[in-house]
């Protein structure tokens, strides 16, 4: 990657924010694929869905790995989205920074919990 610090740091101009925009799209696509994979397994199963069937979906290593990827994608996707919302509606810098710090803590904590659940059972 090109130098983006010190006097060479780009703070304005075209392509600034392209990485955020693209990562939000790519993570959205991964989550959409996960949604379809999960829905297909739920719709193709026969009979009522109890604990065995539901936990069985997440039992395979492949599904656990995909779910793990989705949790990371969600973390990134939501960070970009919430930052957009704060940039649009919250103008005082102190409040915006506090909300952004809160968002990071909230998201990291939530993903930690989700990953723990995923590999515990």
């Amino acid at each position: 990657m090109s130098v983006n610090y010190g006097s060479k740091r780009i703070v304005v101009g075209a392509h600034y924010g392209l990485r955020d925009w693209l990562s939000q799209r790519v993570t959205a696509a991964v989550m959409a694929i996960f949604t379809i994979v999960l829905l297909a397994q739920l719709l193709l199963s026969k009979g009522p869905i109890g604990y065995d069937k539901w936990s069985g979906i997440f039992a395979s290593q492949a599904m656990k790995t995909l779910t793990f990827a989705v949790i990371l994608c969600l973390l990134w996707h939501v960070w970009v989205g919430m930052r957009d919302v704060f940039m649009d509606y919250v103008k005082p810098v102190a409040v915006r920074l506090s909300l952004q710090v809160f968002t990071i803590v909230w998201l990291v904590a939530c993903s930690g919990w989700a990953v723990q659940v995923l590999w515990r059972f």
């Binding site: 799209r25 959409a32 919302v85 939530c110 659940v117």
Partner: protein, 148 residues
Amino acid sequence: MSETATPPAKKRPEFRNINAFTDLPTYRLPAAGWVSILHRVSGVMMFALMPFIIWMFDTSISSEISFTRFTNAFSVGMLGLPGFIWKLLALGLIWAYLHHFTAGLRHLWMDISHKAVELQFGKSSAKVVLTISLTLTALLGAKLFGLY
């Protein structure tokens, strides 16, 4: 400066700083505008309710005992709140996910196709998004509350 014979056109309202309480309720949005703002609203909703989502994932998947706790929250109730309140919360999340998902697919399609960024497609696809998300929410809501 020359005087014109025709009377000046009726002054249109100018918005320099929108007041959320007096201007927003009278502001008429097109379908694409509704899809756009609801995309934000649904995203923030899911962000705020994330612990509840992970709690549902946790209890539904950890063990059979916790699975019973999960289903009881929606039938008997939990934390002093009756089951239907939790069902309503879940239905809110179902709507948020469906709207965010369908509106997101519309966004992705618009990023891929140049034809999709035309005005007419914007209008019609916004109506399709609202129809799909609201119909599926109604169907799943009826299922959740045991109507069929």
